[in-house]
């Protein structure tokens, strides 16, 4: 590898780190949407468990990536400045409260949803604190990461709605709004990258952005509109909502996967002045 002013891709975080952001965000969003849906009983139980399972799967991905997994509990040592420590604490709080909401006190689902939002907020700030990567440290990424996490969770909620049958029409409308806001936040973030990010990073990000725009936004919005027009509670409506959910989930996850594994370019080394040697002109 030749090091110099030309940026290169970070070599430390791979699909396992991406898995944490993909699963953690979607799991958090699913818990938030479950709380909003007012689901109770088995539906609540299984949706919350699915959310917790996704978050746990993301953390498992990270555990597989760290060099010293037997020391994993050291991750809690620096909540004063480290968003990774804060993320771990949020996850640790979320698990028992989520389980309590699922099995004992349904009302706790709102507390679980608040912690899930805190969890995804920590994830968003984790990337922003990574000053070595141009696309990650851009402040506009933080709201985008939160929004994409919640949107993917909402997508999963609607994908699973064919089974659980929950979800009022206004929640489908909310999902549409989230999908729309997500792509707007993506555009705002992408604009800020133009001047600083490496061309190869922009190429990867733009490719994922196109997927987000068409498969993750346009098609789901059309499906949501058609579902709203179809007979409420009918099979067609449910299928359209599920399609919108699936696409919204996959496109957002693909964006995050790309962001970590292909868009993580540093800024290389830079000299603000070249040395003046020998005789002066």
């Amino acid at each position: 590898m030749s090091y110099g002013p030309k940026p290169w891709h970070q070599t430390q975080w791979d699909w396992r780190a991406a898995g944490n952001f993909m699963c953690g965000g979607a799991g958090s969003g699913l818990i938030v949407f479950t709380a909003l849906s007012g689901a109770r009983g088995n539906e609540l139980r299984l949706l919350v468990l699915a959310g917790l399972g996704l978050i746990g799967l993301g953390l498992l991905c990270v555990w597989l990536e760290i060099g010293r997994p037997l020391r994993a509990t050291n991750v809690f040592f620096n909540p004063r400045t480290s968003w990774m420590s804060r993320e771990a604490i949020a996850a640790t709080l979320l698990m028992p409260i989520g389980l309590a909401a699922a099995f004992f006190v349904p009302g706790l689902v709102w507390v679980a949803a608040a912690i899930a939002l805190a969890f995804v907020f920590c994830q968003s700030r984790m990337l922003q604190a990574a000053k070595g990567v141009v696309a990650w440290r851009e402040p506009r990424l933080a709201p985008l990461m939160i929004m994409t996490g919640v949107t993917e969770g909402a997508g999963l909620f609607w994908l699973l709605a064919t089974w659980h049958g929950q979800g009022a029409p206004w929640l489908l409308l909310l999902f549409g709004v989230l999908v729309l806001v997500r792509v707007l936040l993506w555009r705002a973030w992408r604009q800020r990258l133009q001047a600083h990010a490496a061309p190869r990073a922009l190429k990867a990000i733009d490719a994922a952005g196109r997927t987000l725009l068409f498969a993750g936004t346009a098609v789901p919005l059309i499906a949501i509109a058609l579902a709203a027009l179809a007979a409420p509670g009918g099979a067609t409506s449910a299928a359209l909502a599920a399609t919108a959910g699936l696409l919204g989930f996959i496109a957002g996850s693909w964006f995050k996967f790309t962001l970590i594994t292909r868009g993580g370019f540093n800024q290389g080394f830079a000299l603000t002045h070249l040395p003046i040697r020998g005789a002066r002109p």
Binding site: G67, R71, F77, W83, A130, G132, F269
Partner: protein, 216 residues
């Protein structure tokens, strides 16, 4: 209060990589891990081109991005400005590696040696504790501490000075106390124009690059 800092005089560096070799020998870093690197950079287009050799290593920042993100407190900054890693605390999450704007964090997951089997030197330097955790330049902190304990002056007495600085054949690398106005680094910075890498990120590197004499 002492603030240890390093200077690389870009006018003097000839890219011989002796500092790179000295660092590897002193610290026994495995293949692919270079706590000290000298970049060979070209600027301009033919025929108006310039070649610059740029020594880089951990910048021992005032506000280390690696320290803030570290979830374990393995990365710390000493009162004298040297940024250290506690290998027994680090979990090898590599968050510091993606946070460092200077790409100066390394993680080796398995023992590797230059020629397969470890040489005598590699056997001597091998440290299990450095596997699967983050490692980086320490400004040869053990040499500094030992030298200070013996009443020596880092940056002046070679025994108490980082190995890369000792080995530099052109005196391009200089080490000393930034807070001592009479130190070698303070004097050089006062007499020459200098910059720090990626200063806009607010990390406050303790590594300065001299590029020209101070305007008369």
């Amino acid at each position: 209060m002492t603030r240890w800092a390093m200077i690389a005089d870009l006018r003097r560096c000839v890219g011989c990589q002796t500092c790179t070799a000295a660092c590897k020998v002193t610290n026994g870093t495995p293949p692919g891990v270079q706590w000290r690197r000298v970049l060979d950079m070209e600027f301009g287009t033919y025929p108006d081109v310039q070649r610059v050799f740029v020594p880089v290593s951990c910048q021992h920042c005032d506000e280390p991005a690696c320290m803030d993100v570290c979830p374990t407190k393995a990365t710390r900054k000493r009162a004298d400005g040297i940024v250290t890693i506690d290998y027994d605390l680090c979990i090898g999450c590599a968050y510091c590696a993606v946070a460092c704007p200077y790409q100066q964090r390394y993680k080796s997951t398995r023992p590797t040696f230059a020629y397969g089997e470890p040489s005598e030197s590699e056997t001597y330097h091998f440290d299990e504790a450095q596997l699967a955790v983050a490692t980086k330049c320490t400004f040869c902190v053990d040499r500094i501490d030992e030298g200070l304990a013996r009443g020596l002056k880092p940056g002046v007495d070679p025994v108490a000075t980082p190995a890369c600085v000792n080995s530099c054949i052109t005196n391009a690398l200089v080490f000393g106390d930034l807070n001592d106005p009479d130190s070698n680094v303070s004097q050089l910075l006062a007499q020459n124009q200098h910059f720090r890498m990626h200063e806009d990120l607010g990390t406050g590197p303790g590594f300065f690059y001299i590029w020209d004499r101070e305007a008369a």
